[in-house]
Structures are given as structure tokens and as C-alpha cells.
């Protein structure tokens, strides 16, 4: 997730203090993983430097949380560009699992078990997200669904690979 662009997107709604921005972010996107204040302020500082936002003057009392920020025209353009540029589908998990599977087969180790263990981990996370949905508002439900569908996609890869392990092992032995 692009935290910087997401914060910029929130700032395009209305000028905001760093403190309030962090809480808006946590409310919409935190899902139990709140943003650190340090990350918010360093991101804001970078965005000021890049002229995507500007500080609206400092209130007495000092400290970074006393500054209110507003988005610039360049910032608005950046948000629009970010919104409508498709995200590169993540292949991280598959490539790591793929590497593990191949190494296990090369070592004549139990690749089936490795995939089963990963499947178990995925299912446990899916149960957790499914439980979270039970008492959640629609916003949280949609976020959980997003996670569920992604995990499901990984699981389908795991199942297919699991079904192809014997063939894969033969191919590796030939190579």
C-alpha cells in the first residue's frame, strides 16, 4: 500500500493536522496496524519538500503536530494520477513460495508438506478475516473481502502447484 499517496489523498479532502490525518488513516486503512506518528511526519515533510502540500502556518506551542497542511495543485494532480494508474499485481508471495517449493524438491524434501503448512496459515488468516467481518461496518467488510480474495488467489496457486508436484519434480530432475 502506498502510504504517502494515501495520506495525500486524505489531504485532498480538506486541510488537516498531522495528528488528525494519522487518525483518519488508521480509521479507514489501519485494520489493527496503526501508522506511527514518526512515519506520518516524515512523509508530510517529504511531501512539503516535493511541493505536493504546504504548511498553513504554525500555531504557537511548536511541535510538528501544530501544523496544518493543505494540498497544492501539483498534489491534486498527483492524487488523480495515482488513483487512475493501475496497481502492479503483487507476485511477492508466489515467487517466495515458488522458490521454497523448487528448493524443497531439489533437496528431495517434503514440498507437499511445505505447501500444506502454507495453506494452513492462509486458512487461519481467512478465518480471522471472516470473523472480523461479523460485527464490522461496510467499510471494514470491504477491506476484509479484499484481503480474503487475495489470500484465496494464493491458495488456488498452492492447490494447483500441489497437484503438479510430481510433474514438477520430474522436470527439475531433467534440467
Amino acid at each position: 500500500m502506498n502510504t504517502s499517496r494515501t495520506l495525500l489523498g486524505l489531504l485532498s479532502l480538506e486541510p488537516s493536522y498531522g495528528y488528525d490525518l494519522k487518525h483518519s488513516y488508521d480509521r479507514y486503512f489501519g485494520a489493527g496496524k496503526a501508522l506511527a506518528f514518526g512515519q506520518v511526519y516524515s512523509t508530510l515533510a517529504r511531501m512539503v519538500r516535493d511541493e505536493l502540500i504546504r504548511a498553513l502556518g504554525e500555531e504557537t506551542g511548536g511541535g510538528p503536530d501544530r501544523k496544518k497542511y493543505e494540498i497544492t495543485a501539483a498534489g491534486q494532480d498527483t492524487v488523480r494520477e495515482w488513483l487512475f494508474t493501475p496497481v502492479v499485481p503483487s507476485e511477492h508471495l508466489q515467487s517466495e513460495l515458488f522458490a521454497k517449493t523448487v528448493i524443497a524438491l531439489l533437496l528431495d524434501d517434503d514440498a507437499d508438506r511445505l505447501l500444506d503448512v502454507q495453506r494452513g496459515e492462509h486458512m487461519a488468516r481467512m478465518r480471522e478475516l471472516t470473523r472480523l467481518k461479523k460485527d464490522a461496518d461496510l467499510l471494514q467488510v470491504l477491506m476484509c473481502d479484499h484481503g480474503l480474495f487475495h489470500i484465496e488467489a494464493d491458495l488456488r496457486w498452492i492447490d494447483l502447484t500441489s497437484a503438479r508436484l510430481i510433474q514438477l519434480k520430474k522436470e527439475l530432475q531433467k534440467a
Binding site: 508438506r113 495453506r119 486458512m123 487461519a124 481467512m126 478465518r127 480474503l148 489470500i151 484465496e152 492447490d159
Partner: protein
């Protein structure tokens, strides 16, 4: 999870073997299902999931091995040793069934479909209709009891099927791909309602699904592969 590990499982399968002609469907399955738990049975097509469910539910008698059912307050029964009439009776009184395609009787209204198990078990018609209507309302189908299955959406028809399976308060609900024919949203609605109901009543569920999102509603899952249960793959919530 509502499983009480100190009590004996409500269903136990030991060394289940079953073949169809020369094809082995089950090759020595051991499985315990605990009272009140929701168990998902997963696995590739043709792995033996449905055969396992049919053996657990007393629809099929396995070629080898045994299935023991332990009803609350009654003596355990080795269902795999019972004749068809006794198994049929048990299926009517103790078990409920939901299938992928609701298999509702098309010429009966929703409420009449739901009432069937009660009427077959000897409940008076007025009482059967009252309980069926109440359950349909509980499943969000208030006022739709007079509709014929053909007038219902897929999700509504499955809710009727769930009501029919649950109306006689079964101890165990067997579900074979209960939402396999539904889109994501309808599937979620049916599962949520079904799971709320079984959690409330303490009904044990054995649910076959190939869909991980459906299995995620369960307390745990087992995976059936080539007629056996995958070793090392029993994950508890």
C-alpha cells in the same frame, strides 16, 4: 470454537474404505467430528469428499471401517452396521442435509418444502407450518413462504433448503457445496445466516466445499486427497 474436547466426538470414522467398482474412493480415513463444531471438508474434485460425507451421514455403508454416531443422551450407534430402514430413520430424525442445488420440490411452496421433514416425522400439519414459517422468517424470508421454488432467486432457494435441513432440529447438518451455485454476495448471505443458526442451536456441521472463502466460516478444515486425509494438514482455529 464451541468444541468441548473433553467429550467424545459426535461422529467418528475409523479406517473407512469404499470403492465404486474398481475405483477406490476412500482408502482408510480416520476422522472425528466434535459436537457443535463446524468442519469444512476440502479437497480436489474426485478426492472422495462426497463419499466421505455420505458414509458419515449413513447414506452409504462403507466397504470397510466403521462410523460411530454418539447422540446426546442416547447410546452410541455404529451407523455403518445399521440396515437401510434404521439409517433412513436416523437421517430423518438426527441429520439435516443441504446440497449445492437446493433440490427443493418444484411443485411445493417454500413453506411446504420446509415442512416436509416434520410431516414425515409425524408432526401435525399446523404445527409443522408454524415452525417452518418461523424458521423462514429467521432466515430473512418473511412473507415468502407461499412462493414456489421457481419464483425464488438462487440465494433465496438455498435459504429455503437450509430451513428445510434445520427445521427438525438436527444434531448434525451435512452440507455438500451449500453455496457452490451462488455468486459471492448471495453465498455470503446464505452462509452467514446458516452459520448464525447452527451456532445458536449448537448444531454440528460437516460442510464440503472446494471454496476457501466458504471454508473460512468453519472452525477447522480437513483436506481429502486420493481418498485419504492429508497428513499434517489439520488446522484448528
Amino acid at each position: 470454537m464451541s468444541t468441548n474436547d473433553t467429550t467424545a466426538p459426535i461422529l467418528s470414522a475409523r479406517g473407512l474404505h469404499h470403492s465404486f467398482r474398481h475405483t477406490a474412493a476412500l482408502r482408510g480415513i480416520d476422522l472425528d467430528v466434535h459436537a457443535g463444531e463446524v468442519l469444512a471438508v476440502m479437497g480436489p474434485s474426485g478426492s472422495g469428499k462426497s463419499t466421505l460425507l455420505h458414509c458419515l451421514a449413513g447414506v452409504l455403508v462403507p466397504d470397510g471401517g466403521s462410523v460411530t454416531y454418539r447422540p446426546a443422551g442416547r447410546s452410541p450407534l455404529e451407523t455403518s452396521a445399521l440396515g437401510e430402514p434404521k439409517r433412513a430413520r436416523l437421517r430423518l430424525t438426527d441429520f439435516g442435509f443441504v446440497f449445492q442445488f437446493g433440490q427443493l420440490l418444484p411443485e411445493l411452496t417454500a413453506v411446504d418444502n420446509v415442512s416436509l421433514p416434520l410431516l414425515l416425522a409425524g408432526t401435525r400439519r399446523a404445527e409443522a407450518l408454524r415452525r417452518s414459517s418461523d424458521l423462514l422468517a429467521r432466515l430473512g424470508m418473511d412473507g415468502m413462504g407461499a412462493k414456489l421454488p421457481g419464483e425464488l432467486s438462487g440465494g433465496q432457494a438455498q435459504r429455503v433448503a437450509v430451513a428445510r435441513a434445520m427445521v427438525a432440529s438436527p444434531a448434525v447438518l451435512f452440507a455438500d457445496e451449500p453455496t457452490g451455485s451462488l455468486d459471492s454476495l448471495a453465498s455470503e448471505n446464505v452462509l452467514t445466516l446458516m452459520l448464525e443458526l447452527v451456532r445458536e442451536t449448537g448444531t454440528t456441521v460437516v460442510m464440503i466445499t472446494h471454496d476457501a472463502r466458504t471454508a473460512a466460516y468453519a472452525d477447522r478444515e480437513v483436506i481429502v486427497r486420493d481418498g485419504g486425509i492429508g497428513a499434517g494438514y489439520r488446522v484448528s482455529a
